[in-house]
């Protein structure tokens, strides 16, 4: 028996162990707690990479919790699955790797960034709980467990956003996020209830096999789409994003970017695998596209006028999520039409999924550099910064790489995914590509503003004693920089080994269903 069949369960068990053993590790003092945090993050990332490797080699993995056998999805001849099932296809594993790399960088960064604060064992416990929630959302094959992990991730992120609870703004941001996020979680639960009432099953594959559009399914679809687009910060439900991202500690913001990708994963799992071809009309794809276009434009125009560096970057997350939504919406539009799929749909999906990878890496890096700026200058207000490139050369270097990548300047990775998105959306409706291009220009403009006001300019007296960010923060940032440079230099390898299998897995609804339901399709 190969131990690798237990990888899906290990990917959840290790961060969970990390979370609950953190207070114990905290008893041993600061260095033991830090070592524990590093060890668990590296182990989680390694497990996710092994998981991806195995899924790419052997196809969809299922893991049944509590059964006599790990792959006994339909016990004793039943026609529907009754146990808790983890189902990992290439898309899930891809998202898990993306999220765990962001978590690794955030953990390294947090070691010294949070060093002067107390209550750090609680911080690392919440941090790994958030990682568990994120990975759980991405690996589960079950709608109700998706809700449970969504809530685990949400509650952990409320705690982390309000971690500096002596700051009124942090508590306010956490409260706002909490109200709207709990509301949306209840919508998810009600949608799960509707689907359960219709099909007596909560397993995604089982429901998808029996899916037959009626009023209950349509209402469930609306509830799921609206709440999950809210959770990843889409216009017009994006207002919590700048609050939460700006007020959370920087390492946590890097992880929150990964967690918003988990909601995005849920959205596309619902649209492609749960509903898929039975989606029927083009209303939902077009809604996703329109929301994407609005997010891109409104997000970036709001970013141009921001004064706080993390708030500015948070508005950019809104606009980057717009790209992904638009690309995958175009893919969803083409799902019933094999010819359209071959012509532009699959390219759009490759672009969108590639953009998920790129976005998480460079946006995480940008938030980390903003944290480094805050650490050195003691301010987040761009009006008070200036000339910091003189004291922080490494941070400046990494900021330039990340800013060039997010603005889509060739040859960086952001350009490749944006190119795929531009060309495929142009085939659907030229205006989409035009908005995307304008957004890209404005993105560049606002990062030029950040670069010019924070890093360039004459040396300021008040930053005479400012220093470069310390070691572990630089390690956290370098991890993401190395990933960005690697993707930039090897776009073909990334596309054919990571992105294309993920896109294929997302389109292949029948494969997703038959992995759990056997040959019953």
């Amino acid at each position: 028996m190969n131990w690798q069949i237990h990888l899906p369960a290990l990917a959840l068990a290790i961060p969970l162990l990390g979370a609950f053993a953190s207070p114990v590790a905290g008893l041993g003092g600061r260095s033991i707690r830090n070592a524990w945090m590093v060890f668990i993050s590296i182990a989680t990332t390694a497990i996710c990479l092994l998981l991806l490797n195995r899924v790419l080699a052997e196809g969809v993995m299922v893991y049944v919790m509590g059964a006599e056998n790990w792959n006994l999805t339909l016990p004793s001849g039943l026609s529907w699955p009754i146990r808790i099932i983890l189902q990992v296809d290439a898309f899930s594993a891809f998202m898990a790797v993306v999220g765990s790399v962001a978590a690794l960088a955030g953990a390294f960064f947090s070691l010294q960034f949070m060093d002067k604060f107390t209550g750090l064992e609680k911080f690392s416990a919440l941090y790994f709980l958030l990682v568990t929630g994120m990975l759980g959302m991405q690996l589960t094959g079950d709608l109700f467990n998706f809700f449970v992990f969504l809530e685990i991730a949400s509650v952990a992120s409320f705690g982390l956003i309000a971690f500096w609870r002596d700051r009124p703004e942090a508590v306010e941001a956490s409260f706002k996020y909490m109200v709207i996020s709990t509301l949306s979680a209840m919508f998810v639960l009600i949608a799960v209830g509707f689907l359960y009432g219709r099909y007596n099953a909560v397993n995604i594959a089982a429901v998808a096999r029996m899916m037959h559009m009626g009023y209950a399914e349509k209402i469930a679809l609306v509830f799921l789409v609206v709440s999950l687009t809210m959770k990843c910060g889409t216009v017009p439900m994006h207002m919590w994003t700048p609050d939460a991202y700006a007020e959370a500690p920087a390492g946590v913001t890097c992880l929150l970017v990964g967690v918003s990708q988990a909601s995005l994963y849920g959205l596309f799992r619902v649209c492609f695998s749960l509903y898929g071809v039975s989606l029927g009309s083009t209303v939902v794809p077009w809604t996703i596209i329109v929301m994407g276009v609005l997010s891109m434009f409104i997000g970036v125009t709001m970013a141009v006028i921001q004064k706080e560096v993390k708030r500015l970057m948070a508005y950019h997350s809104v606009s980057q999520i717009g790209y992904i939504l638009m690309a995958l919406g175009v893919g969803l539009l083409a799902i019933r039409d094999p010819q359209a799929m071959a012509e532009y749909g699959f390219t759009a999906m490759k672009g969108g999924i590639f953009h998920i990878l790129n976005y998480t890496m460079y946006k995480g890096l940008l938030f980390l550099t903003a944290g480094a700026l805050f650490y050195s200058s003691g301010s987040r207000n761009l009006n008070e910064m200036g000339g910091l490139a003189r004291v922080m050369p490494h941070t400046t270097f990494m900021f330039v790489i990340a800013a060039a990548a997010i603005a889509g300047i060739p040859p960086f990775n952001g350009f490749v995914s944006k190119l795929l998105i531009y060309q495929s959306t142009f085939a659907v409706y030229p205006l989409l590509a035009v908005v995307a291009l304008v957004t890209s220009v404005l993105t560049l403009a606002s990062f030029v503003k950040v670069f010019q006001t924070a890093f360039l300019g004459p040396a300021r007296k008040k930053f005479e004693h400012a220093t470069e960010a310390p070691g572990s923060m630089l390690i956290g940032m370098s991890i993401l920089t190395i990933v960005i440079v690697a993707i930039t230099l090897f776009p073909t390898w990334t596309l054919s080994h990571l992105v294309e299998p993920a896109a294929k897995a997302l389109v292949d609804q029948a494969g997703y269903i038959s992995a759990v339901m056997g040959g019953g399709l």
């Binding site: 309000a162 609870r165 009124p168 508590v171 306010e172 409260f175 109200v179 639960l189 209830g193 359960y196």
Partner: protein, 115 residues
Amino acid sequence: MTGNAPFLVVGIIFFLGLYAILFERNLIKIAIGISLLEASANLLLIVLGYRSGGSIPVFTLAGEVKTMVLPTPQALTLTAIVIGLATSALLLSLIMLLYRHYGTLDVREIRRLRG
């Protein structure tokens, strides 16, 4: 007819909760609205699993019965209640901190983060 009455109650509680979150100004009342939403979702799950005349879905305790209510929604509801407890506790403690920082519970005055 009476079989659908619980769903009506679910709807009423749901919209009461929504109304409280949307139109109440006091933070505590908003928290109550969220609890109402949670209650309506839990009630929906329980009602979905109910079979008229059914007994508890535990083999060793049910005795000689023909129908049992569905066990899955009850397990789901238990989980959802636990999650709801955690969210309510955290929400109320955040409200407490907000009151300490801002000196008010009016939702329209807690808006330092905007624009």
